[in-house]
Subunit: 293 residues, 2 copies
């Protein structure tokens, strides 16, 4: 590769990789002797939605790989309407990258993709951090029409990322201040940006949420089969994917540790980025076969 | 003081201190520049029930003070039948010791006493670790007659601490092995032992659980008034005080971080003592006004 390494998502170059079916956009940040950490993004999020306050500290001891799934950002193809198909594309991407074992940070929709990867190809997932996400058959997943979210999504005075500040953070002055700082950090990357996701991305991903919410006969059993160490993280006031979904993950996954942050919503990892990256790095760096670290 | 310092609950001498109403038995372990950590014990537990794998690592950076409440172990007086009265005795003890600010580790019943102390005299409680406990008005608190517990408590083949291994640990081979190791560690202290608690201690403390389980008009409001940073910890399979009580603490306390361990019951802190003391020390050592660390 002729592309220089970067230690920050503020300036890591976006790269393209041809997979079996599609060409995927991705970025590599940092490096180190540990296995890489693949980051799987939230609803409508692109490479540019990864907060450098989360990515950069984690990248100080390992390579962090940010990834646009099919049809998102500059990746080619159609956005899948199931989590299973998103996991399939992620595995195609890792195969093309010749990665046979990695850690996974899955946020929201990305956490569902991570669970699906761990179920369909357990050998490739070493440790998982699942933030603000839900198991299959979870409750109240991304119902943007409910009043607490619709009020902000339908507010014409909120432009651009301002709506993200409202729905990713709790309605307290402290959480909203953390949200404003998050939005400001997102602006630190000035060029080589992904195109923002349009309505077609949102519609397909929303269909995937609805499919994931359905209870299947094997739902609970699948959770019990995921034996990799997992760190489940959430904000106690998450309106988008409520914390009781994280309780269910912690109760159903046989080898998971649960960590819940106060005064925060869906974006708890961005609000408490110092704590999250400290805890996340300690979890990922553990040599134990068990989740507690 | 002529009594030599000890770095382990295996041999720290038991001391007696005259308070306003009673004489209290206690032990001081370790030392350091940080404020002391007061440890408040579980149902029928004495100074000898504090696992040195939990106490000793925490005592490496601070003084850890183990305490027998009124009527327990070698402390004089009658065992109170309310958590409020137990908190009152704990404050008497700290007053006699001239401690005006401390951290508190409250396990099970001790976690309820810690909440009551933080409510009645907020100035004395700096940070709290609440393990395997419940808020006032919590659910299914210490119902020893339910089948999952009664089966062990009524088993004549289980002698001495063997019953503790069954009810403090989950019914998996890994958790039971951790329980056996815990019981073995309790045996490392060979002399200067507290008398075991008798039926009168159990009856009074059980009355306190029943009183604590009652919802009062101000119950939820009291939780919201506890603004000290708190670390709430539980085992996901706690049968004695189920984990949903820890969810309620995390949801109700405005400044609490929740940490739930897999494959463990009421005694999660003993099972995962390496992780618990690492996390606990990091939490107690934080200079932030917020719980996340």
């Amino acid at each position: 590769m002729s592309i220089a390494a970067s230690n920050s998502n503020a300036n890591a170059p976006t790269q393209l990789l041809r997979g079996a079916r599609e060409t995927y956009a991705y970025r590599r940040v940092g490096g180190g002797i540990r296995r890489p950490l693949i980051c799987l993004q939230h609803f409508t999020g692109t490479l540019d939605n990864w907060d450098l306050a989360v990515v950069d500290p984690l990248a100080s001891e390992r390579e962090v790989i940010l990834f646009d799934n099919a049809g998102v950002g500059r990746s080619t193809g159609t956005v899948p309407t199931t989590v299973a198909e998103m996991a399939s594309h992620t595995l195609d991407f890792l195969d093309a990258l010749c990665v046979t074992s990695c850690d996974v940070l899955g946020f929201s929709l990305g956490g569902m993709v991570a669970q699906e990867m761990a179920t369909t190809r357990p050998s490739i997932v070493h440790r998982m951090i699942l933030v603000g996400t839900a198991p299959r058959g979870g409750e109240d997943i991304m119902h943007l029409d409910k009043p607490s979210l619709a009020a902000h999504l339908g507010d014409p005075s909120l432009k651009g990322y301002a709506v993200l500040q409202k729905i990713f953070f709790a309605p307290t002055s402290s959480s909203q201040a953390a949200g404003a700082a998050f939005i400001e950090r997102l602006g630190e990357r000035g060029e080589d940006l992904d195109p923002p996701s349009g309505p077609n991305v949102a519609a397909a991903q929303m269909a995937a949420f609805r499919e994931w919410e359905r209870v299947t006969a094997t739902g609970a059993a699948d959770l019990g089969r995921i034996t990799q160490p997992a760190l489940v993280v959430n904000g106690v006031r998450d309106e988008m994917i409520p914390v009781r979904n994280s309780y269910r993950l912690s109760e159903g996954l046989p080898n998971a540790m649960l960590l819940v942050y106060p005064d925060s919503g869906h974006g708890s990892l961005f609000q408490f980025h110092d704590s999250f990256t400290r805890q996340g790095a300690a979890f990922l760096g553990s040599d134990s076969p068990f989740a507690p670290f």
